[in-house]
Symmetry: C3
Subunit: 250 residues, 3 copies
């Protein structure tokens, strides 16, 4: 049962988060679940999803978005190339909003803004491979809380600018990579992003179970006002804006 | 009849501008006209175009460029993916210059420089969809006046750097979007870009008739040295560098 | 014969460099040789290549990489779209590492890091054209020396940030372009990048034989601590970190 003015961020594994808003809307991000051995739940166990945001076309981010979108009749926010892929896979065009850098809108009282990410996006589309633009997001909760979701971007300076223009309280930042894949952002770099953004809370994602990067991330944030919150798949972080405190439950 | 040392910027609707240079050359930018209900003229009414610059592959920017290019035997400046599309649609390769970030050249005494834009470009090419790189431009008139044309980029800090390296006097900046499409840049953000660039004149574009963004843009620029000039489709803004004044005529 | 603690950078023409590391590993970058009239050697004369780094899909950068990769059983570092092209042309997937902005790994004691570049990449892939992300690289030698290789990026401010995060001693920077192609970076801009990076040595590339840009580059670097080293195809620059000196031999 949700408390007043509190929203919940559930970590479902890798880069997948479920944000349950103050008004009880469910926003799912980068839902790679079925083939992720560390996933907290399976796609068919995800219910009542109102909206899904996908950062880019990659199997570990687009993941099970199409399936979950259909099952939940959820609205999909994604780049143009992912949108074409999704339509081709049976998602209705009216259930998709194409996002690109700068695009901002409000959907069911939640602000959804795509910002620049420096990464690549590739999807299958009919008989071809189609590349596009990887995105990051800033979500705006009903109480004004801003949540940055990095996707797979590397570090770049304008994250300072964007957090000034669009204030961020919680940053969910990728680091390391899947086993066998070279690192894309280090824990120290992710911590630098969190400091630039001057967030209350910074949550690491996108790392394998044995990664050292979340620890480096937390260590780098010591003696700053940013509180690192390292979640295990299945854990839920609840946040109330006024108190500037959050707590983790299993 | 053009005055000495004066050039004219005609707003043809949405993101389409016709720049008539001091020497009487005609540069057309992002010519979406035929299906734009607010367009000042139709493609077949456009005459004596020497060059067309297209920022990116999108129906509201590429627009009628191919048709106008053929009718006027104009030279086309565009990204590589738009170039492939244009060649496929019958434009001769020698009539196209492929542009990419940093590319700068002089054509008929007009400097044409592509700079970074953070947006997406997609075109049809033969049986496939081909993505590429959306561009912004800085045009250099015969008298040295620099005109920035944003295309659809979102805001980013290096617009400061680029306007330092390649001085800009007039900035034509997109804001809002077509009806039904989420906003890509706000009036306030566009004003911030104009201030960074320290331009004399800033002209909004890319907004629907009832948009509130141009007004916000103008309000944000009050008490700065930047003069906002809001044009209606069909209006012409004439600018003489020496006087640092411009005037609008119907 | 290599000296202790010295590595050698051989300029093979246009944007192709062969870096022979302290431990005798051979790293080849952007190997366009066969159809380059100014190339120092032909692809079949290149031997004992351990790794090839390609910045982007363009005939003057991807060049003869596939052929040389096969002949030398070399490992290929490149973007995802170039990787697909290479696999389609017969390179084994296990001999390729896909790189994207931020990706960093160590291979045979050499650090290979892809950083942001603002340019375009396009390759043929089966029956389609596939675009992707152009890269720049920072290579880390066994002794810690950092070598920046720009590829075809335009200038942008975060090169300062990246050289702070990943220190660079030698910058190899593109300027001008092939005959008949518009310039992408000027000598002055390349010099500004070198100054931002605060490198010991800056080496120009990507210019035609009669280009004025390398001279402008060198002139702009006068009275700075950055030493410009202009190499002719076939020349070798050797560098020993401790001495902070390098010398050129034919």
């Amino acid at each position: 049962m949700k408390m007043n003015n509190t929203f919940e961020i559930s970590y479902l594994g890798h880069s997948c988060f479920l944000i349950r808003t103050i008004n009880g809307k469910n926003l799912l991000v980068d839902p790679w679940l079925r083939t992720n051995k560390s996933a907290a739940i399976m796609p068919e166990e995800v219910h009542d999803i109102d909206m899904i945001a996908v950062t880019h076309g990659a199997w570990d981010h687009l993941g099970d978005a199409i399936e979950i979108c259909k099952q939940n009749n959820a609205h999909l926010f994604c780049g143009a190339e992912v949108a074409l892929h999704a339509i081709d896979k049976g998602i209705k065009e009216e259930n998709i909003t194409k996002m690109i850098y700068g695009t901002a809108l409000t959907y069911q009282n939640i602000g959804i803004r795509a910002i620049v990410a420096h990464h690549i996006s590739m999807v299958e589309y009919k008989e071809q491979i189609l590349s596009g633009s990887a995105l990051s997001y800033i979500f705006r909760m009903e109480d004004g809380t801003g949540i940055y979701f990095s996707g797979d971007t590397c570090i770049f300076s304008d994250l300072k600018l964007y957090s000034e223009l669009y204030p961020v309280d919680i940053a969910i930042i990728g680091m390391d990579n899947l086993p066998g894949c070279p690192i894309e952002m280090s824990g120290e770099e992710a911590a630098l992003v969190a400091k630039w953004m001057d967030v209350d809370v910074a949550i690491p994602m996108h790392y394998p179970p044995d990664s050292l990067e979340p620890k480096k991330f937390a260590t780098t944030l010591e003696k700053t006002r940013v509180k690192p919150v390292i979640l295990k798949p299945g854990q839920v972080f609840s946040y109330e804006r006024k108190s500037y405190n959050g707590k983790v439950k299993e």
